[in-house]
């Protein structure tokens, strides 16, 4: 008997279309898995069981009438709790926001996934206000890594990592400001897509750093990322940075293989400050792809610093009223960084944004010689849940600030990235970033799909 909680989204949708199972059976299997395992994994903060059952029943009724089912019919998904879900307070990982009135409408990404037939199971745990790389939450407890529950999921989309890697949803949505999709994808052994900045609407999601915020999916197969991305893509006047045109679907491109693609390997900054596992994973992917061309992102260390400062200042500005009125209700670690950000001078922000233009222009030149390049997703495999520091290149550094050391310079200029999971030499998952030019999610997905087809990268449900 098939365990539907272990199947990827495309296999679930195919089985429902063929009549091998029903949307209701798949939904019940996932709700049972959530009931059995959520307390251990800290993945969900809200479960929308009635809504899920109604949607699944509607899909089964549609099939019974002989209607064609959409691409994600019956696929269970869940969203980081910074997405508006009608009827739920959009808590964004905070204590403060849970007293807000319930959202009156869904995020457009939820609406689009449901239009494609997907079944919303609930909202997911996250680091407070997304200012986090660990998956810890002072109010709801940490999300835990399904491959080893003593270890962190990474964050801030920690519940999104725990749910997808734990078989509690086939697709999850997260946000990524500095790495918050790619870090949990890496530590939890998932495929994660951080699209080009502006590709997917952020309307009706709680912001963190508007000039850096992205939304995107995590899943256990590349095909699932492509299906979700195509379902969610498209213009949205409610998000001022969302692209204005209808993008070309990526799904038809995914299985085209590597033919004609030039892949490089990031050097310099991206070969320092990591553990051997991180670099060995990149080397394994590069060897398989025959990627030998070094790619140098000039001044990447400055890009990370500028992203760090923009994050502090925009975050501080966003929350300054809450800091004035509810300072005692914040996670202490988050609050003290927001306090500091609120007091930094504007000069730093303007100069960081000027540097951003320069770094974008210089980095885009690299795509004259390559179509994509590889870099580590995280500097290490998953640290222990309560681990505070780790050793990188002989330096003992804070985990919380440095798990995103390789992701920050990339999201700083909005490049699309697919994080692909490998099994590290220490037995834990670790990810590699496949980074493409703006708007070329199809290129990153093609490379990821080729690696998946060849067995170099693989995602499975963890039962640790």
């Amino acid at each position: 008997m098939t365990d539907w909680t272990r199947q990827p989204a495309h296999a679930i949708a195919q089985a429902i279309r063929s009549g091998a199972t029903s949307a209701s059976a798949v939904t019940e299997a996932h709700l049972a898995a959530i009931a059995a395992r959520n307390a251990d994994l800290g993945a969900y903060t809200d479960i929308t069981a009635a809504r899920a059952r109604a949607k699944a029943a509607a899909i089964d009724a549609s099939r019974a009438r002989g209607e064609a089912l959409p691409a994600l019919a019956g696929v269970p998904f869940a969203v980081k709790n910074l997405f508006d879900v009608a009827g739920l307070a959009t808590r964004a990982g905070s204590k403060i926001n849970r007293n807000h009135p319930p959202a009156t409408a869904d995020s457009p990404l939820i609406t689009k996934l449901e239009a494609a037939g997907a079944v919303l199971l609930g909202a997911l745990n996250m680091g407070e206000y997304a200012y986090d790389f660990t998956g810890r939450n002072a109010h709801d407890g940490p999300s835990r890594n399904p491959h080893d529950r003593a270890r962190m999921t990474g964050g801030s989309s920690g519940g999104s990592g725990a749910a997808a890697a734990g078989g509690l949803a086939a697709i999850t949505l997260g946000s990524d400001t500095n790495g918050s999709i790619r870090v949990p994808a890496s530590l939890c052994g998932l495929f994660g897509l951080k699209p080009t900045y502006g590709s997917l609407s952020r309307a009706r999601s709680f912001p963190f750093v508007a000039s850096l915020d992205h939304l995107g999916p995590l899943a256990r197969s590349v095909l699932d990322l492509a299906l979700a991305f195509d379902a969610m893509s498209g213009p949205d006047a409610d998000d001022p940075v969302c692209r204005k045109d209808q993008p070309t679907p990526v799904l038809p491109q995914v299985a085209k293989g590597l033919s004609g693609l030039r892949v490089g390997v990031a050097d310099g900054y991206f070969r320092r400050m990591g553990t051997p596992e991180a670099f060995e994973a990149v080397d394994r992917v590069a060897r398989h792809l025959g990627a030998t061309r070094p790619v140098t992102l000039a001044e990447a260390h400055r890009a990370r610093a500028a992203a760090f400062i923009i994050t502090m200042i925009e975050g501080g500005a966003l929350h300054i009223d809450r800091l004035r009125t509810n300072a005692g209700d914040f996670d202490l670690e988050v609050r003290d960084r927001l306090f500091a950000g609120a007091m930094l001078p504007g000069q730093l922000y303007v100069q960081a944004q000027k540097f951003r233009r320069w770094f974008q222009r210089e980095t885009l030149k690299l795509f004259e010689d390559v179509d994509a390049f590889l870099a580590p997703a995280t500097p290490s495999t998953a640290p222990l849940v309560d681990q505070v520091t780790f050793n990188l290149d002989g330096q003992e550094l804070p985990v919380r600030a440095n798990l995103g050391i390789f992701t920050q310079p990339i999201s700083f200029i909005g490049l699309p990235v697919v994080a692909v999971p490998l099994r590290a030499t220490n037995g834990l998952p670790i990810g590699v970033q496949v980074i493409a030019a703006p708007g070329r999610e199809d290129v990153a997905l093609r490379i990821a799909a080729s690696l998946e087809a060849d067995g170099i990268t693989h995602s499975s449900v963890g039962r640790g």
């Binding site: 000039s211 003290d336 960084r337 306090f339 500091a340 609120a342 944004q353 885009l364």
Partner: protein, 53 residues
């Protein structure tokens, strides 16, 4: 500064906030010292698809 901004920064938090400020001021020179022309345009609404020159 906290007083000017009406931020309720208590004595007990000052060390942690000061540490975060010190980190920011340690990182900032990495891009502050990078030579850019006065005319360099910041990116108030960033566009990854249509980069400005």
């Amino acid at each position: 500064m906290a007083k000017a901004l009406n931020l309720p920064l208590e004595q007990a938090n000052r060390d942690e906030v000061a540490k975060n400020l010190a980190l920011a001021f340690r990182l900032a020179p990495l891009f502050l010292e990078f030579p850019l022309h006065d005319e360099a345009e910041p990116a108030p609404v960033f566009d990854a698809f249509e980069p400005q020159p």
